[in-house]
């Protein structure tokens, strides 16, 4: 598979209030956070992790206008060229009557397209086996996975996480990607002027 096997140091945290400074300190120390798995969406965590803004909404906009164009071209071709019908004496090019359908198709394209894009970005699909760093990440634990490069000293990271307040630390090997051109998160370098937490 595309991604290959990588080594991770995994630290588990019990509290958001501990997690945020830990994320900040890990980034400041220069370690690469692979991801943080949380039981619920945590506001501001993406900023704290230094992730770039998602471009999912740009994709959504493009899918939306594709839907609009598809609807308008199809309907106008059908009703003016292919099969013109006299409906209540209205003109063949009856734009107001098409607006609801155009709206529905815009929403449909945007929604379905964004769900598929989201699945692609998160590398989710049926029959794909994802590596779980800790089963309690879906229950009550905040799980931070730090990616090890050849320069990373594993014992040092473990000690660092312990100091940062992790209650459980271990090392795991996991396969990261399954898709060509897989999405690797870009993490900005830590800057002290960052807003938020």
């Amino acid at each position: 598979m595309a991604g290959g096997i990588k080594k991770f140091v995994v630290g588990c945290f019990e509290d958001e209030a501990v997690l945020f400074p830990a994320v900040k300190n890990v980034r400041r120390a220069g370690y690469k956070i692979h991801d943080v798995y949380t039981p619920f969406p945590v506001h501001g965590l993406d900023h704290a992790m230094g992730l770039r803004e998602t471009s999912l909404h740009t994709a959504g906009f493009i899918y939306g206008i594709t839907g609009t164009t598809t609807a308008l071209t199809c309907i106008s071709w059908i009703f003016t060229k292919d099969w013109p019908l006299n409906i209540g004496g209205k003109p063949h090019f009856a734009l107001p009557a098409w607006i609801p359908i155009t709206f529905e198709l815009t929403v449909l394209f945007a929604a379905v397209g964004m769900v598929l894009t989201f699945c692609y970005l998160c590398q989710l699909s049926p029959f794909v086996k994802k590596h779980h760093f800790h089963p309690r990440a879906t229950d009550d634990l905040f799980v931070m996975a730090i990616e090890c490069t050849e320069k990373t000293n594993e014992a040092e990271v473990t000690a660092f996480l312990e100091k940062a307040g992790a209650i459980e630390i271990n090392t795991q090997h996991a396969e990261t990607g399954w898709w060509i051109g897989r999405y690797d998160r870009v993490q900005k370098l830590y800057a002290d002027t960052e807003k938020g937490y």
């Binding site: 506001h43 501001g44 803004e53 909404h57 906009f61 209540g88 004496g89 107001p96 009557a97 607006i99």
Partner: protein
């Protein structure tokens, strides 16, 4: 925080300047337009123009300032916390309601009891006399609702209750400043009191702005025509313009170093309101248009025939561009809603757009092809803007701008979208 806000000199100058320009326009209207001459429909264009412009501006500006109290009402009922840091801004804007309410009432009464059939066709008593050649069967059927006495009583009750309940809500907010920080029990009691009066306001708001008031004040210009969507459409128009007015004041106060707890996050939420309600306005506008277009019944299509074919065609499409296309495309991005300059620009654009919307509601039925967008129209608008700036300025400079003892203030400070 106890130090009250000193209004900048520029603000006072602009207020005085706008009121001055407005008064000159009004005086010019009094002298040149002969507003007290009797005029039938289309007989004395200048005289009609005077009253039509006053009606449009007074109703528009009254409704958008009253939308502020609606905003406070719904956020109170929803137990909202995020708006607390900026809550004094809509409160200050809603304090204009009594002033504009009285002005609007005087204008409406002059039209109704001055027998101005050129504005409200239905005030002519001969229409209801079966022996008269002018007898109108349709209007005769509507006279239980559409008659001067009911109009007067209901308008005065409405304006009184907007003022009265609004004043109650403002006084609760101000009394929390004096009482000091609240403990759990007092806070709960205080919130419950707010909820009670906010729900009274919302119920009455539904009976007035949500239904009867736009029917009486604006829709009855085209007395034969009716649309059940009309009030909601007017409400959406006034609410989105009202949110824009709140946004303008937030940007202004933040620039002057006030509203210390208001951040990009709060601006983002106000921007979402402006975006969402622009789309909501379009939804109602289109629903009203499409049903009438589809059914194609002559007594209904007359309303749009006046607007789509003839001198109002340009305004009709400009209205859609200003109030739908621009907000949709510009405000869709998150970064625009968090950009203070863009929000200011969009707020001004939306207020102007809905002013145009009200203009095209009033003018075709009164002035028809003689309608104008000349210095007189903008002068009268300046008068009302000046009055709003004056009252809001007085409120802001005489009361603390942050409601520091509101139990939900912390929720607002840490607000994160």
């Amino acid at each position: 925080m106890s130090k009250s806000f000193e209004l900048p000199e520029n603000y006072k100058k602009w207020t005085m300047g706008l009121i001055g320009a407005g008064l000159i326009a009004l005086l010019y209207g009094f002298i040149a337009f002969h507003p007290f001459e009797h005029a039938g429909h289309g007989e004395n264009i200048n005289s009609t123009r005077f009253w039509a412009v006053l009606l449009q501006n007074s109703v528009f500006f009254l409704l958008i300032t009253n939308a502020s109290m609606f905003f406070i009402g719904v956020t109170t009922l929803a137990m909202g916390g995020w708006q607390v840091a900026l809550k004094r801004v809509p409160e200050a804007i809603s304090s204009v309601v009594p002033v504009l309410g009285i002005i609007t009432f005087v204008i409406l009464m002059s039209i109704i009891w001055g027998g101005r059939t050129d504005i409200f066709h239905w005030v002519d008593p001969e229409l209801y006399d079966p022996t008269s050649p002018k007898f109108d069967k349709i209007l005769n059927g509507k006279k239980g609702f559409l008659n001067p006495v009911f109009f007067t009583v209901w308008s005065s009750v409405t304006i009184f209750l907007w003022w009265f309940i609004g004043r109650k809500m403002r006084s609760f907010s101000l009394e929390s400043d004096a009482s000091g920080p609240m403990d759990y029990e007092t806070g709960k009691k205080w919130i419950n009191k707010n909820i009670l009066w906010a729900s009274l306001f919302i119920v009455f708001f539904g009976l007035s702005v949500g239904s009867t008031i736009p029917w009486l004040w604006i829709m009855s210009i085209d007395a034969h025509w009716y649309s059940t969507m009309f009030s909601w459409y007017t409400f959406a128009s006034s609410f989105v313009a009202g949110m824009s007015l709140i946004a303008l004041y937030i940007v202004f106060l933040k620039n002057k170093g006030q509203l210390e707890y208001v951040t990009d996050e709060h601006l983002h939420d106000i921007g979402k309101f402006m975006f969402a309600f622009s789309v909501f306005w379009t939804y109602l506008w289109f629903s009203q248009y499409m049903l009438i277009w589809y059914a194609n019944i002559p007594e209904e299509t007359g309303y749009f025939k006046m607007r789509l074919q003839g001198p109002f065609r340009g305004i009709f499409f400009l209205n859609l561009v200003l109030n739908f296309v621009c907000p949709l495309l510009i405000f869709m991005k998150k970064s625009t809603k968090r950009n203070w300059t863009m929000v200011t620009f969009m707020a001004a654009l939306i207020i102007f757009g809905h002013w145009i919307d009200f203009w095209q509601m009033v003018m075709p039925g009164t002035l028809g092809s003689h309608a104008a967008l000349m210095p007189f129209e903008f002068g009268i608008a300046a008068l009302f803007i000046g009055i709003i700036m004056w009252r809001v300025g007085v409120y802001l400079s005489s009361n603390p701008i942050t409601a520091k003892n509101h139990p939900f203030l912390k929720e607002s400070i840490i607000h994160h979208t």
